[in-house]
Amino acid sequence: MIYPYIPHTDEDRKRMLASIGADSLEELFSHIGEDLLLSDSVPISHGKTEDEVQRLINSIAQRNVKGIPFLGCGCYDHIIPSTVKALSSLPSFVTAYTPYQAELSQGLLQAMYEFQSMICEITGLDVANASLYDGANAASEAAALMIGAKRKASVVLVSRTLHPFTLQVLQTWAEGTDNSLRYLEEKDGVLDASMLESLLDEQCGGLIVQTPNRYGLLEDYTGFADLLHEKGMLFTICSDPLSLAIQKSPQEWGADIAVGDTQSLGLEMAFGGPSCGYMAVKQELLRRLPGRLVGASVDKQGRRGFTLTFQAREQHIKRERATSNVCSNQALAALMTSIHLSSLGWDGMVEAARQSYVKAHYLAYHLAQLPGMTLVWDKPFWCEFPLVFSDAKHMRKFLQELRNEGIWAGVRLAQLTRQAKDELVLLVAVTEKRSREELELYLAAARRVMK
């Protein structure tokens, strides 16, 4: 059974190139920089059949190593009920591109509406959009909103304890928009709250913080909202939404904007993406909220229906004065989150968050007894904690030995930040999915290495 992979003949290609006025395939790609083009051809020799290529690729895939993940840093291995895949893989959801005549797709609009409602419930805020690309994207949209809401603001205050990738995206946003970031430094693993007031001035539009923060530690924002609001500034909190089942909500901290990433709610780790960002705001910021927004209404016959609403905010109406350039969302990923949450219910979400908490604390407590590693800052955390090694040699050996046991022991923070101060920090994440046996396996291996 031999098929060519591509049905076009050389003659077909020539005709296609001729009709668009290009002499060769190379010419078609000539506007792409040479450094971006593949210089060597794909290492599969010509003349192989589809079946042979499949075998080759399978043999490469088999070199992947599976392990028990204690990896986090913004991407976690939580239990996902089978309803998520079963329902979200329906062709009517999977193959649907953005509905241009949106109201014809009532099912999709309802799913987005449910997503928005659940994000509001979780964050405690009044209105949420139908999702953004990911958590970092949502944070940059929060920055844009805060700048837009305050006249003559050009500075966003950000905590150094934000996820490293979120900070990078914010830096890119600031560069591209002629705004700037000002940093609230960290102290003992959390932001230095004592510095806040001294950093606020006329140019400042607001503050972005994160809890659990980049180390997995929980932060205390007592008094922040009052201080910021007094000066006419806004307050944004980034959170893992699952953590909000058991920690204070952004609304309870007095935040105006809540953002984050819904990966922990029904999305596979999938090598880090695609993910889905959420964004919720207080009612008075509704018209500054970016992205798509679905509303509930009634049709001519009085039946409940759903519609895209408040589109005057968006760029197809407001052009260059739009609140944002985001004109899309992560509908399929948001749908997975909606199905996940509907399957778990509020009690299930609390249970997942609590179990993650308890299991992470069990592991952390026992690891802290071992020589050569500490929970250096002794701060409250949820499902992830920073383990700091006494030296790099120990850390390497620890990671290698546990890997030999089939355990991915954690993420080296320096891999994400490339900063010397993070060299000895290992972030260990424990979700409700890790069994007692897996925790004991981790501990037994750790005890062997760190004796």
Partner: protein
């Protein structure tokens, strides 16, 4: 035929300005409200801020479009018409009785440079 009042001056962006004592009342003209259609939201400026002439000071959103209101004369916002918060349709019902905001310490020169009723009427005829 658009309604034009004799006691106002006008900008080419279709705003009216009416001076009462030391305050300047600013609103949108009959032509503007008609062009916008059903108005659903008005974003008002913060009190106490100084805006220059031509600066975006407010937004009027209709079912068709969201339009920026450019400040017609330099001045400090003294009051914003909060009746419009819950009832933006007032601008459709009577755009001259319902102002957007009031300026104090405004530029008299810039006010006098605005079109008078006759000039505005002539200007509309060219559109």
């Amino acid at each position: 035929m658009s309604k034009i009042l004799e006691n106002c001056r006008y900008s080419k962006d279709h705003e009216w300005v009416r001076v009462e004592a030391d305050k300047a009342y600013v609103g949108i003209t009959d032509h503007a409200q008609h062009e916008l259609g059903e108005i659903v939201f008005v974003e008002l400026p913060p009190i106490g801020e100084r805006y220059q002439k031509g600066e975006e000071i407010s937004t009027v959103e209709s079912v068709k479009a969201a339009s920026a209101i450019l400040n017609p004369i330099d001045g400090v916002v003294d009051q914003a018409n909060e009746d419009l918060d819950g009832s933006p349709e007032l601008l459709n019902e009577d755009c001259y009785a319902n102002h957007l905001f009031v300026l104090k310490s405004f530029s008299v020169e810039e006010y006098e440079a605005l079109l008078d009723a006759k000039e505005y009427e002539a200007y509309l005829a060219t559109l």
